[in-house]
């Protein structure tokens, strides 16, 4: 089979994985090697695909042959689809060829399970070895750890990759049993725990010996499919928080389920992927990681799902109106971050600027504050924006209007959501 065909099959089969960032690993150039990794939070996007997603890495499968039969997956063994497999040499050469042309920041290698998890992982290790040793590749590598791989191989993989990930895919054990009968919760969590423990050890080693080999320096991530099972947003967000707290994950990715198969256990093929819900989860995830929010503040048993109409931070603000308005000249960083329309950058700019002069309302826009949203929740020198009048009702309407143009779901669906909420 031609390389072009293989690439087509194996990137098509990999495209549902949401993780494509090259972040979390800062490594300058290395004498005699090619490549570097960047330090910015988002990593480096090399292009954006027609669906608007950032493309940073060459995202492919080693092979889409798979002995497992996860019901939601195009690669499951019972599906009639074209199969292909890269040789380790081909894959390494392709990666370097793309990297030299600045098409990509590195490689994201995942795979279907060919024969056994160990056999598959050995193939992946072989490819990464060629890349790191023969081609002296110093760029970014994200490798997928296949549930059930033996610890020795996970160790080897972690020494070659910047980031490892084990995908949870289904956010509950019942979901797993039903839809991924070959996988168990234990098979997923064991390598996750191993990676976490190993990284802690590695940090200590690196303190003692500066040249100790690095184990997955960009940490680990995971992905959950949203909308294939009945799990609530609260359930997913709690699980996310637990993963950040207990497994020190760097990122949790959410992937709106795209129905690719007709199966009685899954949403039917005409159901659109729940993009808005995925968007809300990312917004909430951001609040957990950078804004000091906890899952329990955003959702509870009475409101287990996000409001489709306003973003999670606005929702929180609307439920805590007594917290506002906040005075931007005196509030601390954490408090500033609670204001809708103020982000990490603008909060920091406020802190810097107000040391020189007291801030006035007109200054805030120049500092990057989104006043469309923020104006209802703040004062500057004791004053709100001039001429601002609002009631709780109009406030909600204005906040909804301020966000709508940026939302991922088409307008028609927004309207249906709107209708159901109003009639409910």
């Amino acid at each position: 089979m031609e390389l072009l065909d293989k690439l087509t099959i194996l990137s098509d089969a990999a495209k549902y994985d949401a993780a494509c960032t090259s972040s979390g690993s800062r490594r300058g150039f290395r004498q005699g090697y090619i490549g570097s990794t960047t330090s910015s939070v988002a990593g480096c996007c090399h292009t954006f695909s027609a669906d608007g997603r950032c493309v940073s890495l060459l995202k492919v499968l080693m092979t889409n042959n798979c002995v497992y039969n996860c019901k939601y997956c195009v690669n499951r063994c019972s599906n009639d689809t074209r199969r292909a497999m890269f040789t380790p040499e081909e894959l390494a050469e392709l990666t370097i060829g793309f990297y030299r042309r600045n098409y990509i920041e590195g490689l994201f290698l995942s795979s279907g399970v060919v024969r056994t998890p160990d056999y598959t992982t050995e193939l992946m290790i072989k490819s990464l070895r060629i890349l790191r040793e023969r081609y002296r590749f110093n760029g970014y590598i994200h490798a997928k750890t296949i549930p059930g791989t033996s610890p020795v191989l996970v160790e080897q993989l972690g020494l070659l990759a910047d980031r490892l990930s084990v995908n949870i895919e289904l956010p509950s054990e019942s979901g797993l049993k039903l839809l991924a009968p070959d996988k168990t919760k234990a098979a997923i969590l064991t390598p996750m725990r191993q990676i976490e423990t190993r990284r802690t050890e590695n940090t200590e080693e690196l303190v003692k010996y500066r040249h100790a080999p690095k184990f997955a320096p960009a940490g680990q991530s995971t992905q959950m499919i949203v909308g294939a099972t009945g799990d609530s947003d609260l359930h997913i967000l709690r699980l996310t928080q637990g993963l950040y707290d207990q497994y020190k994950l760097k990122r949790v990715f959410y992937s709106a389920y795209v129905p690719v198969v007709e199966n009685a256990l899954l949403p039917s093929k005409d159901v659109k992927p729940p993009l808005l819900r995925e968007h809300r989860l990312y917004q909430a995830d951001w609040l957990l990681r950078f804004y000091g929010f906890r899952a329990e503040e955003l959702l509870d048993e009475h409101n287990p799902d996000f409001n489709p109409l306003v973003d999670p931070k606005c929702s929180w603000a609307l439920a805590h109106l007594d917290f506002f308005p906040v005075e931007v000249n005196s509030a601390d960083y954490e408090t500033l971050l609670r204001i809708p329309g103020i982000g990490v950058t603008s909060a920091k700019r406020i802190l810097v600027s107000r040391r020189c002069a007291r801030l006035k309302i007109e200054d805030l826009r120049k500092l990057g504050v989104v006043m469309k949203r923020a104006q209802y929740f703040l004062t500057a020198c004791g004053k709100m924006a001039e001429g601002l009048r609002f009631s709780p009702d109009s406030l909600l309407r204005n906040l909804i209007a301020a966000e709508r143009p940026g939302l991922p779901q088409p307008a028609a669906e927004q309207l249906t959501l709107f209708d159901t909420i109003q009639s409910a």
Binding site: K15, S40, Y103
Partner: protein
């Protein structure tokens, strides 16, 4: 004090000489031009010769008051802010009049336009770190870009360390400048005309593979062209492999028809000219 319009050679040092001159002659500047064609004839205007010792004196003075301000000026000079010379001139005037305190106030009326332009410059450089597309031509990696800001000084450190053992060049079509890198030395030099050599078989092979990957990786159920344009404005597409027409994916017929095409523009990419005068201030080592 007289009001005056200055004309200078467009270099950073030349700009500093305008500052020097206006202080030495007690002239208030109403405009600074680098292009003769744009100087309005109605106003009194003078041409300022670039004198490196004058430029150095201005720079040393600024660094003494605030090294941060000196950095802002270097970066500000690379931006596409219309009449950037005047904005920078006013910034210097305020700095020498009041001292550096206002530099902490990010919404200050003199500082803010410059900061905003610099953010835009850095934003564009960050995008281009991803969007630059190299072609391999006879062992040399070459790329062309069409940026609004003069980003080459900001891209230099990144690409030269990433591809430290390669020979490479990036041509900036907008500002007619080229970044050349070989044997661990980098240089940015003006270059009026440049044309990329046609690709060979192996280069075309990679272009096709990338285009195919790009077309395959999108999920059609999630098609969202607006989101794509927001993240990747269409003005960058012109120099990106994945958006080129069919001709871009055809190899030159055979090397016999087209002798000596090892690198575009003969050997310009291989032989780095001796240290030319710094046409753009360095912000990356």
């Amino acid at each position: 004090m007289n009001e005056m319009t200055y004309l200078y050679d467009g270099s950073f040092e030349g700009f500093l000489c305008c500052v020097f001159e206006s202080y030495a002659k007690h002239e208030i500047l109403t405009a600074i031009y680098s292009d003769e064609d744009f100087v309005p004839v109605l106003f009194a205007s003078r041409t300022i010769e670039t004198d490196f010792s004058h430029a150095g004196r201005v720079m040393r003075k600024i660094v003494k008051v605030s090294p941060y301000a000196a950095d802002l000026l270097r970066r500000g000079f690379l931006t596409c802010l219309p009449e950037r010379e005047m904005y920078l001139y006013r910034l210097i005037a305020k700095l020498l009049r009041e001292g550096p305190r206002f530099l902490g106030s990010l919404s200050d009326e003199t500082l803010y336009p410059v900061l905003k332009a610099i953010r835009n410059l850095h934003g564009e450089a960050q995008l281009l770190r991803g969007f630059v597309r190299f072609s391999e031509l006879g062992g040399v990696l070459g790329a062309e870009i069409e940026p609004k800001n003069r980003v080459l000084p900001l891209l230099r450190g990144h690409f030269c360390s990433r591809y430290q053992n390669e020979k490479l060049f990036i041509y900036d079509r907008t500002h007619r400048e080229i970044l050349l890198y070989a044997d661990h030395k980098a240089v940015i030099a003006p270059l009026e005309h440049f044309e990329m050599a046609p690709p060979d078989e192996s280069e075309v092979g990679y272009r096709l593979l990338w285009k195919r990957f790009y077309d395959t990786i999108a999920i059609k159920e999630r098609y969202n062209p607006k989101c794509r344009r927001t993240h990747m404005p269409m003005r960058y597409w012109n120099t990106m492999t994945e958006f080129q027409g069919t001709d871009y994916f055809k190899a030159k017929k055979s090397s016999a028809d087209d002798p000596g095409l090892s690198a575009p523009n003969e050997k310009s990419a291989l032989a780095i000219p001796p240290e030319s005068e710094p046409s753009a201030p360095a912000s990356a080592p």
